[in-house]
């Protein structure tokens, strides 16, 4: 860890400090000879929102891909939702939602077909019902039978967000989730992808909604103001290393400026 960064557990006042959703200790990832992530150490409590900031090429997207189980860590410890990666990546499937730069949708299929296919593979209990619910939530009902290649970038982004939320994941990894969206869609999606508190187990079975953990979020982006406003933890990456690790109330404009300098 670089000298200016705080130790991994410092400054992490999240909503629930009991069970960390993410534990990174000395995480390393290379691409060929180039080190893309160097000695990244962060602990994220369950239910917390992390703002992941840094200039282009800092390693933000790579870190999200490693956390999603799509890339193997090549050194250090990487534990996500209690599972050590890479060995435990299969246990994360369906529990992690990853909204990437690329839409990860089949262009020749319609919005509905893409969502229904993904829901089926995610083993969603009522795929048709969940797809309908998300089409309404993302205001895509009128475009549900349009092929993805016919959609604008904003509508594609909304479809991608719907696909990310199909399994109601406990961990959301969001790479610039509100890019290409108009203000109205941005507000709608911001709420959908927002924090979600834990639901405790009912006193007796069937007495209430089923228990579910709080949603943890890691959001990569380039808007520090918005990121500070909605996060519990700020992580700044530069050249693959953590150079800023703090709570938003302790981050000043000079630290943000130094991160992007």
């Amino acid at each position: 860890m670089p000298p200016e960064a705080a130790p991994p557990t410092a400054g992490l006042a999240g909503p629930d400090r009991a069970a960390p959703a993410i534990v990174l200790d000395g995480l390393v990832r290379r691409r060929g000879e180039r080190v893309v992530l160097r000695e990244v150490s962060v602990i994220v409590p369950a239910g917390a929102t992390v703002a992941l900031l840094g200039p282009n090429g800092a390693g933000k997207s790579t870190l999200l891909r490693v956390l999603a189980g799509l890339m193997r860590p090549m050194g250090g410890v990487c534990r996500v939702l209690g599972h050590e990666l890479p060995d435990g990546r299969h246990d994360l499937r369906g529990r992690v939602g990853y909204l990437a730069h690329e839409p990860m949708l089949y262009r020749d299929l319609t919005v509905r077909e893409n969502l229904a296919h993904r829901a089926r593979l995610l083993r969603v209990a009522d795929p048709a019902g969940r797809v309908r619910e998300l089409l309404e939530a993302t205001d895509l009902v009128r475009r549900a039978d349009f092929p993805v290649h016919a959609l604008s970038r904003g509508l594609t982004q909304r479809t991608t967000a719907a696909a990310t939320l199909l399994s109601d994941p406990e961990l959301l990894l969001l790479d610039e989730p509100l890019a290409n969206l108009d203000p109205s869609a941005s507000a709608r999606l911001g709420a959908l992808l927002g924090p979600r508190p834990a639901v405790p187990a009912p006193a007796s079975p069937g007495a209430g909604p089923a228990a579910r953990p709080a949603r943890t979020r890691v959001i990569a982006g380039h808007d520090p103001e918005a990121a500070l406003a909605e996060s519990d933890i700020v992580v700044g990456l530069r050249d693959g290393a953590v150079t800023l690790l703090a709570t938003p109330d302790t981050v000043g404009p000079d630290q943000i400026a130094a991160l992007y300098a």
Partner: protein
């Protein structure tokens, strides 16, 4: 909270869903089948005019038909996996609990079904354009059997090779480099099984070639099953 165990029949359900997706995509934007069909007919037409008397039979006929099938399949394999990598389908798949072996199995079944459809068009065209005495109706079951087994071997091997090459930048080069050496024995076996019925007058097909073809398919089915979970990963 840990992921619940896969429900019973989940694997076959995933294969069905993935196979249906392949056919839906092919119906919506035909790519694999037209490429393979046009290539095969083009090769037959070239042979028709390239060969001295424009006609073949026996081992040469079997060779022309099977090598054309192999080359058409190589085009199909590349197309079949291109969307997974180019459209992010593979990443989306790897975020789901579905098994990688289900994806490889669905790709193999899709390619097998595409090859069978190809042969419904290509074999009559081959008989009409190139086969010296045409195709005897009595020989059809033998031809169909040999092609079904040969296509299965190509499909299973092709799906495996395609999954390995899917993430590579030089996918178009890697697929033939890996697939051709693996498929040479299959083509040789299928040629032995097929050539007697493409000879005039017809010879008797020896059973050992059929056994060898089935064995080849079985071995590659087992290999695919065993290794596919490891190769559709980073």
């Amino acid at each position: 909270m840990s992921t619940p165990p896969a429900p019973r029949g989940a694997w076959t359900g995933d294969v069905r869903a993935l196979l249906a997706l392949e056919w839906r995509r092919e119906r919506r934007a035909p790519q694999v089948l037209p490429t393979m069909v046009l290539f095969s007919i083009g090769v037959f037409v070239l042979f028709r005019f390239g060969l001295q008397d424009g006609r073949v039979d026996g081992p040469l006929a079997a060779g022309v038909l099977l090598v054309t099938t192999l080359l058409a399949a190589l085009l199909g394999i590349g197309r079949l996996w291109a969307a997974e990598e180019d459209e992010g389908g593979l990443d989306a798949f790897r975020l789901t609990p579905a098994s990688a072996s289900a994806l490889v199995a669905a790709k193999a079944l899709a390619l097998w079904s595409f090859l069978l459809v190809l042969h419904l068009v290509a074999v009559p065209a081959f008989a009409f354009l190139l086969l010296r005495d045409g195709l005897d109706v009595g020989a059809l079951p033998t031809v169909a059997g040999a092609l079904v087994l040969c296509d299965l071997g190509i499909a299973v091997t092709g799906a495996l090779v395609g999954s390995i090459a899917a993430a590579a930048r030089s996918r178009e080069l890697l697929v033939p480099l890996m697939a051709v050496p693996l498929l040479i024995p299959l083509i040789a076996l299928a040629s032995e099984a097929l050539s007697p019925v493409l000879t005039s007058p017809q010879d008797v097909v020896e059973g050992r070639w059929w056994t060898a073809l089935a064995l080849y398919d079985g071995v590659f089915l087992l290999v695919s099953w065993a290794v596919s979970d490891g190769i559709v990963e980073d």
